[in-house]
């Protein structure tokens, strides 16, 4: 035992009604603590029915004031439940809240053990450990950082647009970054939206325009975030504004350049590969902003050095072939990531023949096919461009709920499949088969839509489709696509010939989601979706303070949920902005500059880039605001130069000694 003067420690053993007292002899434990831990500095040990009750808290506050306690141990439930409660109580009584520790004798003792003797013994050990630990606790002050009121929203889909508008309307500035030429995201590609079937463009366009013209929104399309440094309250972001080769101030968006451009390119972004665009283009009529972009890879001038048709015909001389990429630096306090999803690549399920069999389409292709503004002006036809299908098969769960691809349910496919069935009926009167594993139509008015589609006469086959082939086995299969499936409702194998197959492909994280996650210092789940702080209670925040997620970047969801999340994320941001400063938990690491040898071993350990190395002084240093307090560097420093508050070596080692006290008392 070190010679330093003893702390005055109060130990409070909670009965939690019978939850603890039923198994642990709390009275004995309290007496034992007062007696056996006296040498540690325990001056008072009480047991009480409900420590977390206001009376229980007052008990502690009273002792702190009257006995001048310098440390408090509450033996009760898990700190995750009531640590805050008791620390606040201590604070009210004028004791630094971080001098209070909890010993979990409910979750870790009474609830999981039955033998009273053993349980009581373990409770004592746990308390002994906590007492030894709390002696080493240090009084800590919460860290406060000012919040820059500007916000960065990454991704101009419906979720991003929603977030941006919410914040902008509240009167704060937003930078909205989109890597495509226009905002709008996937929703802009759709024709109708389930279950109400209102026209996607009709409801989306006004929002796009509002975002495009909002005084508080700086719209940065055809742009990508290159680097992010700093931390909550003051992120420093570098954005690459890719050259459009259009002088925006001069451009009126008249569209002549597009008409005149001789080079036609398959548009596999907006048209999902089903239509064409020019080398200079705006992805679609209602694009925001209205300025086109020039696609360097395909532009004849850039390839051959001649052409310049657009330049010749542009009435305002807005074409600028010498435009360079531009790098913009901005300061923001918070960031919302609404980077959306990629459609599952149906070609991977080769037995469905997409990519090999012309008349197999993906959901996104069909969206374009059925879209009045699409390549066929809304005619639902086969790939030959003219024939209207007489029978259509819609396959659900393509790439979803499948061990070979993605285990998860993509949420929207069922409703999407039903929507397609309806549209096919409406527009072609063809026979429609829906092949599904389970029909999932949760949420408002969804199942009603299902009923409606049923009544329209869509045929539903329950079973996973084995293959789609054009190898006919008999006359009436000839020239058709045959869907081979098990019909689990009649327990038979069936071969159903159709003219057209639509694959209701699942949703997938963006192919570069992991890199984006790294860029912003947040993590991805096994599936690759961004991980939220808490799956239920904090679905839009992330582990990294000041970074929020919304829409499909967090997981598959439909439009209403995406909008809701966008709004939720901005609400969290506004709350931060209005607080003007943010409080950070004081669990941080710091490097003793005298003791640091500059070996740089810690440098590669911090995923939050909180450790910087000073070449001049040859020492490393930790930026407290970036530090998340994991303690990995503390454990790694070979010179023992890094210490971590809240979980210091002294605390842990003391706790080990305390926990093993009985073992070392054997025979004594």
């Amino acid at each position: 035992m070190s010679a330093k003067k003893l702390e005055k420690i109060g130990v409070y053993v909670c009965h939690c009604g019978s939850n603890i007292a039923g198994v642990v002899d709390v009275v004995d434990v309290a007496n034992w603590a007062a007696d056996k831990l006296g040498h540690q500095g325990v001056v008072i040990a009480r047991d009480y029915k409900f420590m977390c009750s206001s009376l229980g808290q007052e008990l502690i506050e009273k002792d702190i004031k009257e006995l001048g306690l310098t440390r408090v141990v509450v033996a009760a439930c898990s700190p995750h439940l009531h640590e805050k409660t008791f620390r606040t109580a201590a604070k009210n009584a004028g004791l630094n809240p971080y001098l209070v520790e909890m010993a979990s004798i409910r979750e870790q003792v009474s609830w999981v053990h039955t033998d009273k003797v053993v349980a009581t013994a373990k409770a004592k050990a746990v308390i002994s450990g906590t007492v030894s630990r709390v002696i080493e606790n240090a009084a800590l002050e919460d860290l406060k950082v000012p919040i820059n009121p500007n916000t960065l929203v990454v991704g101009g889909g419906i979720a991003g647009i929603q977030s941006a508008l919410e914040i902008a309307n509240a009167g704060f500035h937003v930078y909205l970054v989109e890597r495509e030429p226009s905002i709008g995201g996937h929703m802009a590609q759709f024709d109708k939206t389930f279950p109400t079937l209102d026209c996607s463009a009709c409801i989306l366009t006004p929002r796009m325009v509002e975002a495009g013209t909002h005084p508080n929104i700086t719209l940065l399309t055809w742009s990508e975030v290159m680097s992010v440094t700093g931390f909550v309250g003051s992120f420093n972001v570098t954005i690459k504004k890719k050259a459009r080769f259009i002088n925006e101030p001069l451009c009126t968006g008249c569209g002549i350049c597009q008409e005149k451009c001789p080079k036609k390119v398959i548009d596999d972004v907006y048209e999902a590969g089903l239509g064409y665009r020019k080398a200079v283009y705006t992805p679609f009529a209602q694009a925001v902003p209205k300025y086109p972009v020039m696609d360097k890879e395909n532009c004849t001038y850039f390839l051959k050095g001649t052409c310049k048709a657009c330049e010749k015909f542009c009435p305002t001389g807005a074409i600028d072939f010498n435009q360079k990429d531009e790098y913009i630096n901005i300061e923001v306090g918070n960031i919302i990531l609404a980077t959306g999803y990629d459609l599952f690549d149906a070609r991977r399920v080769s037995n469905y023949g997409y990519g090999r069999l012309p008349n197999v389409f993906t959901s996104l292709e069909f969206e374009r096919l059925s879209n009045a503004a699409g390549p066929t002006n809304g005619d639902i036809v086969l790939r030959d461009g003219k024939t209207t299908p007489k029978s259509v098969g819609i396959i659900h769960c393509v790439g979803s709920r499948d061990k070979n691809f993605n285990n998860y349910c993509s949420v929207i496919c069922c409703m999407q499949g039903l929507k397609f069935a309806h549209l096919v009926h409406e527009r072609t009167g063809a026979t429609v088969y829906n092949f599904y594993i389970d029909m999932r139509t949760a949420y408002k008015a969804y199942d009603e839509f299902y009923q409606r589609v049923l009544e329209e006469g869509t045929l539903f086959v329950r079973g996973k489709v084995a293959e789609v082939t054009d190898a006919a086995r008999n006359e009436h299969e000839k020239g058709k696509l045959i869907i081979q499936t098990e019909d689990t409702l009649i327990g038979k194998q069936r071969r159903i010939p159709v003219d057209m197959v639509i694959l209701s492909s699942g949703l997938q994280p963006r192919y570069d989601a992991k890199d984006v996650g790294k860029l912003f210092g947040i993590s991805c789940s096994m599936d690759g979706w961004f991980t939220e702080k808490h799956p239920k209670l904090d679905p839009v925040a992330t582990m990294t303070e000041g970074i929020y997620i919304a829409g499909c970047a967090q997981g598959p969801k439909d439009i209403p949920s995406s909008v809701a999340q966008g709004a939720a994320a901005s609400a969290r941001v506004l709350d931060k902005i209005l607080q003007k400063e943010v409080v950070l938990e004081p669990i941080k690491a710091s490097i003793n500059q005298e003791q640091c040898s500059g070996c740089r071993i810690c440098n590669n350990l911090c995923p939050f880039n909180a450790i910087l190395f000073h070449e001049d002084r040859m020492v490393s240093e930790i930026n407290p605001a970036l530090c998340q307090g994991c303690g990995t560097c503390v454990a790694a420093c070979p010179a023992g130069a890094i210490s971590g508050t809240g979980f210091s070596n002294e605390q842990i080692l003391a706790q080990i000694d305390g926990l093993l006290m009985d073992v070392n008392l054997v025979g004594a």
Binding site: E594, Q595, C596, S597, G598, C599, R600, I601, C602, N603, N604, L605, F613, M618, A635, A636, C637, P638, A639, G640, A641, N649, L653
Partner: protein, 330 residues
């Protein structure tokens, strides 16, 4: 007027510490000038009875080098503790057990079995030395060895620690200057228990080699890549250099000639277990996430225990390998 008394004693050591003290060259004369040398086997003749005759605390400063290897060492440690005001554990053996501390990895019995049965030993009757032997003329004795090597602090209370195998002469000179200044009232002694004659950081601080963010895919034995890149950090070249965890004060002499630090200055300030620091340090530079890959990389360190506890075993949390606790003949 009588000068304060100075003593230096060795126990189970190699004599290197004595040589290191002699290597302070002219400074030795300062010692002579400022101290009355009461007891210093290497430098002069003296008698233990004289030491026994002194009253307790009569010696101002005693530098003790060597580990506690046999009963006699321990006996002398208690004697000199009693007679000295300031007892300094001097050198690696006294502070942490040094390389002979590696003996703690095996039971004493085994050490005898090996030592007295080497290839060149002619010992048909399996004779081992014994503490008492009857010879025609009578009975003669030798001291019994302890089951394991102990550091000085493990048997008596120690005032200061001076690491190094041996401590570098410029550090010894500095300490002697300090003590002399204290005598002249020009300086204060550091708090009891401090480490003196060394830095608080680690060897890297004094190492002039260039270093980057460390990520290595393999460890190499020095003979596999020598001569190493003369500019670059040895650990970054995959050579298991103990520098990052070893206390500074030696001016990183070994890395300076292309040899890895082997850790003779022991742990840095406040470190509880030297080996643990190296475990975590080496593990931290490994550039792999798959267990198999990690294991493959670790195979590059043929003898982790020896590597990490080369000097520090006797002072580590474990003190010794478990077999060392087995009684002789067990």
């Amino acid at each position: 007027m009588s000068k304060p008394k100075f003593a230096m004693y060795w126990s189970g050591s190699c004599g290197g510490c004595e040589i290191a003290v002699i290597n302070i060259h002219e400074k030795i004369l300062d010692v002579d000038a400022n101290f009355d040398i009461a007891f210093w086997p290497v430098a002069m003749d003296a008698k233990v009875k004289d030491v026994e005759a002194l009253e307790d605390g009569a010696i101002l400063l005693t530098l003790w080098n060597g580990s506690i290897r046999n009963e006699e060492n321990e006996h002398m440690a208690h004697l000199l503790r009693k007679k000295s005001k300031i007892l300094v554990a001097f050198g690696s053996c006294a502070t942490e057990g040094c390389i002979p501390g590696l003996a703690n990895l095996s039971p004493m019995q085994e050490i005898f079995d090996v030592a007295y049965h080497t290839i060149s030993t002619d010992n048909p009757n399996n004779i081992h030395p014994q503490t008492v032997t009857k010879v025609p003329e009578g009975e003669i004795t030798i001291p019994a060895l302890k089951d394991r090597v102990h550091t000085l602090a493990q048997v008596v209370d120690v005032d200061y620690y001076m690491p190094g195998c041996p401590p570098e002469s410029h550090q010894i000179a500095a300490v002697i200057d300090l003590v002399i200044q204290v005598l002249e009232g020009k300086a204060q002694l550091p708090p009891k228990g401090s480490v003196i004659g060394a830095g608080n950081s680690t060897v890297c601080e004094e190492c002039t080699r260039k270093r980057n963010v460390k990520m290595i895919k393999a460890f190499h034995r020095i003979q596999e890549i020598a001569p190493a890149d003369p500019e670059l950090c040895l650990l970054e070249q995959g050579i298991p250099c103990n520098g990052p965890a070893t206390r500074s004060g030696c001016n990183a002499r070994c890395p300076a000639v292309g040899a890895q630090c082997i850790g003779c200055y022991g742990p840095a300030e406040g470190v509880i277990d030297y080996g643990a620091r190296l475990v975590t340090a080496f593990a931290s530079v490994i550039d792999a996430n798959e267990p198999e890959e990690i294991e493959r990389i670790l195979d590059g360190i043929p003898d982790p225990t020896g590597q990490f506890y080369r000097f520090n075993l006797a002072d580590s949390l474990f003190r010794a390998g478990s077999s060392a606790f087995k009684k002789n003949g067990h």
